[in-house]
């Protein structure tokens, strides 16, 4: 990071810190679990689909995607990336996966012992791998490829994703639900066999209720950020999201921590306290942040850039009424599917057929009243990048909001230049100012 002195400008929300601490705690728990002879699993982010099952079965979970970000943030990803290259994996693959291949190769080399240089105590050898078809090809092909280093089974969770128009066809949604429920039943049977224990269905019900409550709170906190000035910066969102996104640690504790966060953010709204000293520009960030260069946002905050909404894939789905459904697997299925399909009807009404992940940025910009979009296409993550040129085109055509497109990578810091962003900041501010006038003339409300 070459953005000068590390002056902290963003007014961090205090209640975020205990939530952020749960990430480190999760690695510690997995290491302790192994010592105590309890199972640990490596999982992809499953958007509340597979995680409740594992929680209810008392299985500790670590997330290599998250660990890839941690390696990047700690600035130590490079040697694992180099190892992956040496193992013969193509260099254009997902940066998280490459870091993980390097890590797994080291793990195998050490006979299953955690590499001593691994940050945060490292990830212990798993009992099995839980991959997911959701979001990208990498998230199941990666775990399949880990077979080279880990002789452990892989369970791949399905994630149906029909087109926005095709979703309207009769029976489509119910077929998605049917697939999700049947698939979860098979997954439960697999986990029971893997840990030689039966599912505690009462505990699963409680887990599902807590997970849904955590996501409700997370959603409500995001809604509070529509206030002007925005009380909570994207950096705080990214720091506070893992316990909801990954269902980390004790869920009752998480509920309380998100309540605390909600209260502090609500108090800020009530008292007109913003996340940065002077909010001149409100921005949306898409998609995955440069984990290795996050203090860039302090430099941009000095210029009055407040990041008020971000990263669709990390957000909780809008709440839905599941009170009439008794089967916890059906509750999980419908809740998890909600993340993608919740916006399908609106998207179709606005003739956005390019997917929920495109439509959502129109919604974000309009409802969070953004002046600009910071789009971060990633060299090694096609799924978080492909839609961004289309997002930029739509924001300009429909809402007269300009975008700043800065290419980078989630793990490889050699591919991102924060100084380039700062160089482009002033002309982009002129652009945001200009389009404010254009929007006013076009009768748009911000």
């Amino acid at each position: 990071m070459t953005t000068g002195e590390k002056k902290r400008v963003i007014n961090r929300v205090k209640a975020m810190y205990p939530l952020r601490a749960k990430v480190d705690e999760s690695y510690l728990r997995s290491q302790e679990a192994i010592k105590a002879g309890k199972p640990t699993v490596w999982a992809m982010l499953t958007f509340c689909y597979g995680d409740p099952i594992l929680k209810a079965m008392d299985i500790e979970v670590v997330y290599p995607e998250n660990y890839g970000a941690a390696l990047a943030a700690a600035g130590v990803a490079r040697e694992y990336l180099d190892r992956s290259d040496a193992e013969g994996f193509p260099t254009h693959l997902c940066g998280y996966s490459r870091a993980n291949f390097g890590y797994a190769a080291r793990l195998k080399e050490l006979g299953g012992e955690i590499p001593p240089e691994a940050p945060m105590g490292g990830m212990p050898k798993p009992l099995f791998l839980l991959s997911s078809v959701a979001v990208c090809d990498a998230r199941y092909k990666w775990f399949q490829a880990l077979g080279r280093y880990l002789n452990v089974p892989v369970w791949t969770l399905e994630a149906p994703l029909p087109g926005i128009r095709e979703f309207q066809l009769e029976g489509c949604y119910e077929e998605m639900v049917k697939l999700a429920i049947n698939h979860l039943r098979e997954f439960v049977a697999f986990v029971e066999k893997a840990v030689s224990r039966k599912m505690d269905w009462a505990k699963l019900e409680e887990t599902v209720d807590l997970a849904i409550e955590i996501h409700r709170l997370s959603h409500e906190i995001t809604e509070l950020r529509k206030a002007k000035p925005c009380p909570m910066h994207s950096r705080d969102f990214w720091s506070a999201m893992p316990p909801a996104l990954f269902l980390l640690g004790d869920l009752k504790e998480s509920v309380q921590l998100y309540r605390n966060l909600y209260q502090e953010v609500a108090d800020r709204v009530k008292n007109g306290i913003g996340a940065i000293p002077e909010e001149k520009y409100r921005l949306v960030f898409a998609e995955l942040p440069p984990w290795h260069s996050l203090d860039l946002f302090d430099r941009l905050a000095e210029r009055g850039w407040n990041f008020v909404i971000e990263s669709f894939g990390y957000h909780s789905p809008p709440p839905m009424d599941l009170s009439g459904i008794s089967d916890p697997l059906e509750r999980i299925a419908r809740f998890s599917l909600q993340r993608m399909v919740a916006n399908y009807k609106d998207a179709l009404a606005k003739n956005v057929v390019a997917g929920a992940d495109v439509y959502i940025y129109l919604k974000y910009v309009r409802e969070w009243k953004c002046d600009g979009a910071f789009l971060h296409p990633l060299v090694s993550c096609r799924s978080a990048s492909t839609h961004l040129p289309h997002v930029a085109n739509m924001l300009m055509e429909r809402l007269k909001v300009p975008s700043l497109m800065v290419e980078g990578d989630i793990v490889d810091l050699r591919l991102f230049n924060p100084q380039d962003v700062l160089t482009r900041a002033e002309p982009f501010e002129e652009s945001m100012e200009y389009y404010r006038k254009v929007r006013r003339e076009a009768g748009l409300e911000w």
Binding site: P90, F128, Q144, P162, G163, E166, G171, C172, K178, H387
Partner: protein, 386 residues
Amino acid sequence: MTAKGLARVQEIYQDRSRRAKELQSQGKKVIGYPCVYVPLELLTALDVIPYRIYGEMREPVTEADRVLPASFCPIMRSCLDCALKGKHNFLNGMVALHASDPQEKTARIWQSYTTLPYFHFIDMPGTVLPEAVTYFTSQLKGFVTTLESLAGRKLPADSLRKAIEAHNQQRTLVQSLFHLTESSPPLVSGTEIVQVVKAVMSLPVDEGNQLLTEVIDEVKERKDKPPSKRARLLLWGSTTDNADVMAVLESNACVVFAEDCGGYRPYRGSVKLTSEPLNALADYYLNEITCARTFRQTTTSATQKDYLKDLQSRYGYLKRIIADWKVDGVVLLLVRYCDPFAFEVPAVRDYLASISVPSTYIEYDYTEGSLAPMRTRIEAFLETIG
């Protein structure tokens, strides 16, 4: 139409859309598809002409740059680029599916930036579990619904059965064509097969079958057989859609088997004729097409894993091909950013090493400029295998 057999293949290869446009002028509807996972039987049964959409390696990508990032599947970028330049404007519609992320995402962009009267997206599960096959069947039902609207009539059961039979016949014919490369020297070159497959995917199934029959008869009888070369190679990868690529690989070797979507892969096995044809189609396309995009493993619910057994279950079918076609080496050829296949590269090479078959991995960017480095790489590989 006067030319027959390989001469006819050449005609079509040079001007792929001509026949589709002729049929369109006679009132037929033509639907484009970018991937071999689309069950063409459903189109054929409703008298809709399937037309395979390919990229154009020699056409610089310009228009797609404004809607797709550069670090993205170059084949899908090229396909979309051609569409944005109006090259597919004659189509009555398009069907794409979730065979890979690039295709899924390109399909959505495609739909947003073009004005085709018909567009359908089929969702595909990632696994071959029974519930996944059931879901895929339901997706095919949805496809039939919109196709029936396009065709203006209901899908007759007997037509679907006949369409399945016709496409099964096509699979058998392509399998027969590949058997003509078993001899040494092979009776037909890998370069010619790329052209044949591409031509067949530009025609209605019956015309494609007629063409294949002519080609097979001609090849069996012809005097100018391809010469013997230094090595017999198997090509493994996503797809090879340009004869120039194969010609580079065949400069000093014979590609006797193409395990990719421009070769044998779409024609393996056959669809079962059952009383549940949609289910049979779902089952065939998910289970039989060995594209890397589908997650497979030895036993789905097994709680133990053995890497070598896993490799055997995923790639074991290659062993018999390698033996029958007397393959000296395997070329893993991928376009850059083809993630599903790229993740498999070390595993495939591990498997091949386990059966003592030399292999090399070559990556290219789907441009003309990538052919010269490819030639150097393949020459270097041939040196190593003697």
